[in-house]
Amino acid sequence: MTKLGELARLIRSKNAGPFELTFDIMFDAKETFERVRDSKVLTAELIAQIYRLPVKDVRFFVVPEALAFKASIPRPRFQGDLLDSDTHGGQQYAPLIDIEIP
């Protein structure tokens, strides 16, 4: 098992507008991307579990031409709302780093 953070070139989160949050997981090498894809660990279900959402709220994309995976969710709080703690949504990816990939 290897942590996703050790395999990916970049794991990031960011606003996709003020109402959605999007996660990008990007790789350098096709083999690494394929290893993660073929492990079937990284799914909409896993994102839903980590961010405590119904799976229907998660949009999940495999983007082979960019050697990337992408997931988008409704923002836990709208950007800038009183209890929002991350205006740019830039630090919400940390739990993805620890995902174990066989």
Binding site: A16, E65, A66, A68, S72, F78, L82, A94
Partner: protein, 462 residues
């Protein structure tokens, strides 16, 4: 309308006017004889403050630096200059600020041109009319949008498509400063008018609007260049030290988009699912196959901000391991004490009711809140941000100051006697943050005409 010489060439100065670019890159772009220069100047990314307050997110000095270089370049080469989403949010005060800066530069640099200002701040009566006609539709997720929300809003802007830009150019404008705009519309309109397929034009626009962001590990914001011909476009970062690869250009469609293959614009949807990316050499990429599907209904996205009150905060920290070990119950007791003291101080005065008291705990879950998967505290110290939002600044400061004093001396069972349990960072401990705002609309509106929401003002400068 400009004539294509077999190619259409577009120079993007940078991702946001005010974020900077290299002068050498702009010159390299000019040397390739672009048909126009474009630059995005706004975003919702800095949060609701810019739209609500009328201020810009980037400092005026840095905006002026970029705008001056662009204006000089455009006038020297006799090229149209298109700026979208002026002043971050594109509201009336933002457009006014850009107008002032532009006139100041023209005076100082002795420039003459005809300028169009395209307004995008919306009249509340117009919005209510369209709402009552059933021509306002929520996106997902969206807050509720009613007459009361429209009345409360500090400012609501419409996000224009390419049509108002093209109208301004048709009417002789050489410099177009637009209010809130689709970032891509700044770059897509002219190429489509010159005969480029909408799929390629919108795809290239999506890359150009972010300046050099699609280059590999771009060290700082910079220019980007695109050349359209026949059935492809090439993407080329102008700084010789930057390079684009098929992967970096494909990956750019991920950034700040919820769907990497479909991008919704006013007149339709850009579809990247059939796009292909090929390296021309070590630093240029050729793109083919992008499609654009026109939509049945033409829609304009709305953005709005409302003031939710005035905020005052106190930043403090805790190093005592006993307090850290019971931080949740400590905050619960603090919150209760603040409630009691607020009731004592405000007595029968109801103006403090409805205030919000919130404590953020950095070192525990300050960044992710209830979504934080790590539940135990692994830090030897915590940072607290105590935050009060209330109807006036004076009430917010009063309550946060009561909270500071309660937090300082809140007893814990481990110590006998009077303690001081929090380190205050500043004296005075409170910081007044002024009015705070929230985004209050995520809806689209159906106009009769793409230009009806965006009146154009023409000014002869110089």
């Amino acid at each position: 309308m400009q004539q294509s010489d077999g190619e259409v060439r577009v120079l993007s100065a940078t991702g946001v006017c005010g974020s900077g670019f290299k002068e050498s890159s702009l010159e390299a772009g000019l040397a390739r004889r672009p048909h126009f220069i474009g630059c995005d100047a706004g975003s919702t990314d800095p949060g609701p403050f810019a739209l609500g307050s009328g201020q810009t997110a980037f400092p005026v000095r840095s905006i002026k630096r970029d705008l001056k270089l662009m204006l000089q370049a455009a006038r020297r080469a006799k090229l149209p200059l298109l700026i979208g989403s002026a002043g971050t949010a594109g509201g009336a005060p933002h457009l006014e600020k850009f107008k002032e800066i532009t006139l100041e530069i023209a005076r100082e640099e002795n420039l003459r041109f005809s300028m169009a200002l395209i307004h995008s701040e919306q009249h509340k009566e117009y919005l209510k009319k369209r709402l009552h006609e059933g021509r306002v539709t929520p996106l997902s997720p969206a807050p509720e949008f009613t007459d009361a929300v429209i009345d409360r809003a500090e400012r609501i802007v419409g996000m224009m498509g390419e049509e108002p830009y093209l109208r301004a150019l048709q009417n002789g404008a050489e410099v177009v400063i637009a209010g809130r705009s689709s970032d891509c519309a700044i770059f897509a309109g002219i190429p489509i008018q010159m005969g480029i397929s909408p799929g390629l034009a919108w795809h290239a626009a999506k890359i150009l609007e972010c300046g050099a962001a699609a280059a590999v590990a771009r060290p700082s914001p910079d220019c980007m260049f695109s050349t359209f011909a026949e059935d492809y476009f090439d993407i080329d970062a102008l700084d010789p030290e930057l390079r684009c690869t098929p992967q970096s250009v494909a990956a750019h469609s991920l950034y700040e988009n919820s769907d990497p293959y479909h991008l919704v614009e006013s007149s339709g949807t850009l579809d990247l699912s059939t796009a292909t990316y090929v390296a021309l050499d070590g630093r240029r990429v050729r793109v083919r196959g992008s499609r654009f599907h026109p939509s049945d209904k033409y829609t304009i996205k709305l953005e709005g901000a409302e003031c939710v009150g005035y905020q005052s905060i106190v930043i403090g920290s805790i190093r005592d391991p006993y307090i850290i070990g019971q931080i949740d119950s400590w905050i619960a007791r603090l919150t209760e004490r603040v409630k009691v003291r607020t009731a004592e101080v405000f007595a029968n005065d109801r103006t403090a009711s409805g205030h919000v008291f919130n404590v953020r705990v950095y070192g525990k879950d300050g960044t992710m809140g209830p979504l934080e998967p790590v539940r135990e505290i692994r830090s030897h110290e915590l940072c607290l941000v105590m935050e009060v939002t209330a109807a006036t600044q004076e009430i917010a400061t009063t309550i946060v100051s009561l909270a500071r004093h309660q937090a300082l001396h809140l007893p814990i069972p481990q110590w006998g006697g009077f303690i001081t349990g929090m380190a205050c960072l500043y004296s005075p401990a409170y910081l007044e943050r002024g009015p705070v705002y929230r985004f209050c609309v995520n809806h689209v509106i159906e106009p009769d005409d793409p230009c009806e929401m965006f009146p154009i003002e023409y000014i002869n400068v110089g």
